[in-house]
Amino acid sequence: MSAAQSRVNDFVVKIGTVNGTGSASANGLLMKALFRMGIPVTGKNMFPSNIQGLPTWYEIRANKDGYMARSGRVDVMVAMNAQTYKQDLAEVSPGGFLIYDSTWPREHTLQRDDITVLGVPLAKMANEHFKVARVRILMKNVAYVGVLAALLNLDLEIIKQLLTETFADKPKLVDSNLEAIMLGYDYAMAQFTCPLPVRAEKMGNGNEGKVLIEGNAAAALGAVYAGATVGAWYPITPSTSVMDAFKSYCDMFRTDPETGERRFCIIQAEDELAAAGMVLGANWAGARAFTPTSGPGISLMSEFIGFAYYAEIPSVFMDIQRVGPSTGMPTRTQQCDLMLAAFASHGDTRHPILLPKDPNECFELSVKAFDLADRLQTPVFFLSDLDIGMNDWMIDELQWDDGYQPDRGKMLGPAELETMEKFHRYLDEDGDGIPKRTLPGKHPKGAYFVRGSGHNRYGGYTEDAEEYQDVLDRLLVKWETAKQLVPGPEIRHAGKHADYGIIAFGSSHGAVTEALDGLAEEGIHADYMRLRAFPFNEEVEAFIAAHKTVFVVEQNRDAQMRSLLMVELDAPADKLVSVLHYNGLPIPSDCIAEALREHIAKEAAA
C-alpha cells in the first residue's frame, strides 16, 4: 500500500452504481454538502442510454481553486456495482481509495497494492435495518453518503439540514434517510481512521453568491426571460430537460393560479421537422419561439433551417450536442455539430452560432439568441452540449437586468405602415443587409408572401437571374453585420510574451484554463482565446495572426472548428494545431496539457 497524499479540498470522488436504484439523490446530497461547506464543486453524470439496470457513474470534483473540468484523476471510488468492479478498481489513481460493498466477498484475484481498499457491508446493514425491498436498495445508496461523510469529513449538520429541506413535506423520509446515513457513518468511524488524508474542510463563505445548476435549466430560464412564448420540440436526450425546465418555469411564472390559463404554448411535435416548422410559423406570426434538440433533430430540421435563412425568419435552435454520428452515444458529450449548424441546409446557407461555456452563459446567450434572431431575421443556433446541459455546475448566481428590453429588430407596426406608400419585404434601406418585416393580423399594408422559392427585393416571385442574385448577395451583407453583432471572443493573455495561442470554446473552457495554469508553472505560456460565437470577427483573425502556433481544442474527431476557422478566415493550415478529444466523456485538463507539451517538445526537437 502506497502512502496516500494529503488532498484537502482537492479531490475527485467517483461513484459507480446501477441506474434506476436511486443513487441520483444520494449523489446530489454529496454534491450539495460539499457545496455548502464552501468548496467549489462540480458533478458529472456518466449514464447509459437506458432506464434501469445498466452501470452509471457520477463524478464529483471538489477543488479549492475552482477548477471545474474533469481532472483525469479518481481519488475515492465508491464501487457499488459488481459488474464494473474491475474497471472501477483500475481507475483509482495511485494512493487513492476504493470503497466497496463487503456484504458479498469481492473477487480476490483483483488486487492493487498502490491503493487502499475499504469494505463496508452496506447491503447487509440496509437489509437488517429496513423492511421493504425497494427501500433497502435506496437506503444502501444513501448509506454510502454516510460512509463518505465520515471518511471525507463532511459536515453532518449540513447533511441533516439538506435532508430536512429536500423532504420538507415528508418528515418520515428525513428520518429514514438520516438513519441510513448514520449506519454508514458509524460503521466507518468505528472501522477506519477517519477522516482520510483526502478530505474536505469548510472554507470561505459557504459559496455565497453561487448556485448549482444544469445548463439546460439555465438555457430554459433564458428563454423565459427573453419572453419566448412558443416552444416546439420532439423529445431527445440530452435536450429534453430544456423543455422540461421551460415548462416548469412557465408553470411557475406564466400560469394564472386561479384560472390555470397559460401565457405560453408548448407543442410536443410529431417529429423535429414539424418542431422546426412550428418555430418558423410562430416567429413569423410575432412570437418568440424556439426548439431544443440534439444532432439528429438538426439533421431533420435542415430543410426548414435553409428556408428560414432564405425567407429571413427569426428562429432559435438550441442544439444540446451529443455523440454522433447517427444515433451515436446519446448520453455522452461531444462538440460535433459545429459544421452542421454553421451550414445547415442545401444551397448557400450559413448561420450564426452561440457557444456557451457554462450554465451562466447558457442563460446569457439564450437571451442573446432571441435578440440576434429578431435583429438579423435568421435562424440562430445556441450550441451547448450534454456536459454543460445535463451536469451539475457551480456558477455565480444568474443575474438579470430589469432594464433589459428585447431587441425585436426591424419590425414595422401599423402606425408606420399607415404612412407608407408600399411595403417591400426584402428591401435593404440602410445598407446593413437587414430588411424590415411586418406581422400578420396587424395592417392591410403589411401583407407579403413568404416563400422559399426565388424572390426579388420587393418580395415578389422571381426566376430572373439578376433579381435572384441581388437577394443572395444582400444576405452576405447581412452576414457581415452579424459579425459585429454576435459576442466577440474572450481573450486571456498569458501575462508575458507567448508564441503560442490556444483556441477553445464551450465546455472545453474549464479544462483549458486548468491546463494553461499548470503549463505556466512548467514555463510553457500561451494566450487563450475562447470563441463565443460564429461568425468570427476581426479579433479572432488578429489573434491567429499574432501567434506562431495556435492550438485549437475541440471535442470532435474531425477538427470542425479548425476547418471553420480555415474556411472563414483563410487561417493558414500549418499554424493551426488540433487538440482533439472525442471519446464521449467531457474533456479532461490533462489531455490538453499533454498535447501541448508533446507538440512543443516535438517542435523543439525539429
Partner: protein
C-alpha cells in the same frame, strides 16, 4: 419586376360586402396554372367565400406546401399574409403561427402529394391537434408540378396518361381525417362552386381543424379516359350525401320550418350550418355510421361529397393547451419576463 398585377376594377353589380370591400379585394395575383386546372376554380370559390364572410383580409393567413395547388395562395386575398412553406410541412408552420396568434384566420392549401405522401405525418397530426384552420386538399390523384406521377390518392385501377395502371391502394383524406378524430371533414368538387363556397365558409368558421378534400382535376396529366380523378369521371360518379348551406350569425334561417329534414349545426361564432341530407339516413355526427357509409360508397366507385362529418364540441389546440385568450404574440414584454427579484428567489432553491 416579374410579378403580375391585376388592374383593380370594380365590377358593376357585384357590390360591396359588410366591411365595404369588393370581390376584387379578395383576389390575388394572376394564376400561372394551366388553363382549366381545377385548382383555379377552388381559388375562385375561396375568393367568393371570404368576400361573402366579410373577413378583413389582414386578419387572414394563407399557407401552403409545394405543388401546383400550393401555389394558389398567391392567387387569393392579396391583403393576407402568405406563407408558401416547404413540401408537406405546411401544417407545422400553421400550428406555430396559430400558437403565436390565435386570433388569425388560417386557411391552408395543400395537394394530395403534399398531404398524403411527404406530408402525411403532418396532416395526421394537425388533424389530431385540432388546430383552428381550414385545411384544403386540392386532390387530383397526381403530382402535377413534377409532371404527373401517381400520388397516394390515385385509386387502384386508375390509369395514368401514358397507360400505366395504379395497383396500390389509395389513401382517402376524408376517411383518414375522420379516423384520426377530425372535427370537421368535408369533400367537394372544383366543378361545383355552389357546393364548395358554403363548405369553405363553414370550414373557416369552424373552431378546429376543418379538412376539405376537393377533387380538382389536373387537365394536363390526369383528365383522360381511365382516370378516376377526371372531370368526366367525377361528374358521372358524383354523389352529394348532404347539401350544405352556411348561414352567418346575423341572418335568420327563414326556411327552417319548411325544410323537414334539415339539420342545423350552430357554430361557436353563432353562425349555422344547415345540412339537407340527400340520403335520408345520413347523420354527419355519427362517426361509425359515416365511416360505414363512406366505405360502402367507395366500393361502388362513388365520389361522396358534402360536409360529411362534424363535431363542433371537440376542443381545439388552445383549449387543450389551456392557452390564455389573448394572442401570445400581442403580449407586452413586461407581461412575460419574471424579473430580477423572481430570479434571485428561484435560485435560493439551487444551493
Amino acid at each position: 419586376m416579374t410579378y403580375i398585377k391585376k388592374p383593380r376594377i370594380d365590377l358593376p353589380g357585384r357590390g360591396r360586402n359588410e366591411i365595404g370591400l369588393t370581390m376584387r379585394d379578395y383576389e390575388g395575383g394572376l394564376s400561372t396554372l394551366c388553363a382549366g386546372c381545377g385548382h383555379d376554380s377552388i381559388t375562385a370559390a375561396i375568393v367568393q367565400a371570404f368576400f361573402e364572410l366579410s373577413t378583413p383580409p389582414e386578419s387572414v393567413i394563407k399557407l401552403s406546401g409545394i405543388g401546383c395547388s400550393s401555389k394558389t395562395p398567391a392567387y387569393f386575398v392579396s391583403g393576407a399574409h402568405g406563407f408558401n412553406s416547404v413540401h408537406g410541412r405546411m401544417p407545422s408552420v400553421a400550428t406555430g403561427a396559430m400558437a403565436a396568434n390565435r386570433d388569425l384566420v388560417c386557411i391552408a392549401v395543400s395537394g394530395d402529394g403534399d398531404s398524403l405522401s411527404i406530408g402525411f405525418g403532418q396532416f395526421g397530426h394537425v388533424v389530431r391537434r385540432n388546430l383552428n384552420m381550414l385545411y384544403i386538399i386540392e386532390n387530383n390523384g397526381v403530382y402535377g408540378l413534377t409532371k404527373g406521377q401517381f400520388s397516394a390518392s390515385a385509386d387502384p385501377g386508375s390509369k395514368a396518361k401514358k397507360g400505366e395502371v395504379n395497383v396500390m391502394q389509395s389513401i382517402d383524406p376524408v376517411s383518414t381525417a375522420i379516423a384520426l378524430g377530425g372535427s370537421f371533414v368535408a369533400r367537394g368538387f372544383s366543378g361545383d362552386r355552389a357546393q364548395l363556397v358554403p363548405l369553405i365558409k363553414a370550414g373557416i368558421r369552424h373552431r378546429g381543424c376543418a379538412v376539405l378534400d376537393v377533387i380538382s382535376p389536373c387537365v394536363t396529366f390526369n383528365d383522360h379516359e381511365g382516370s378516376t380523378k377526371s372531370y368526366a369521371y367525377t361528374r358521372e360518379n358524383y354523389h352529394p350525401a348532404v347539401y350544405t348551406d352556411f348561414v352567418p350569425p346575423a341572418e335568420q334561417i327563414e326556411a327552417e320550418q319548411k325544410d323537414g329534414e334539415a339539420t342545423t349545426v350552430t357554430m361557436h361564432d353563432g353562425s349555422r350550418i344547415k345540412l339537407r341530407k340527400a340520403d335520408n339516413a345520413y347523420d354527419p355526427s355519427d362517426r361509425s355510421a359515416v365511416m360505414h357509409y363512406l366505405e360502402d360508397r367507395r366500393t361502388k366507385g362513388e365520389v361522396v361529397t358534402g360536409l360529411l362529418y362534424i363535431d363542433e364540441d371537440l376542443p381545439e389546440m388552445h383549449a387543450i393547451a389551456q392557452t390564455e385568450a389573448e394572442p401570445l404574440s400581442g403580449r407586452a414584454f413586461s407581461d412575460l419576463s419574471p424579473g430580477a427579484a423572481a430570479l434571485a428567489k428561484l435560485q435560493k432553491g439551487m444551493r
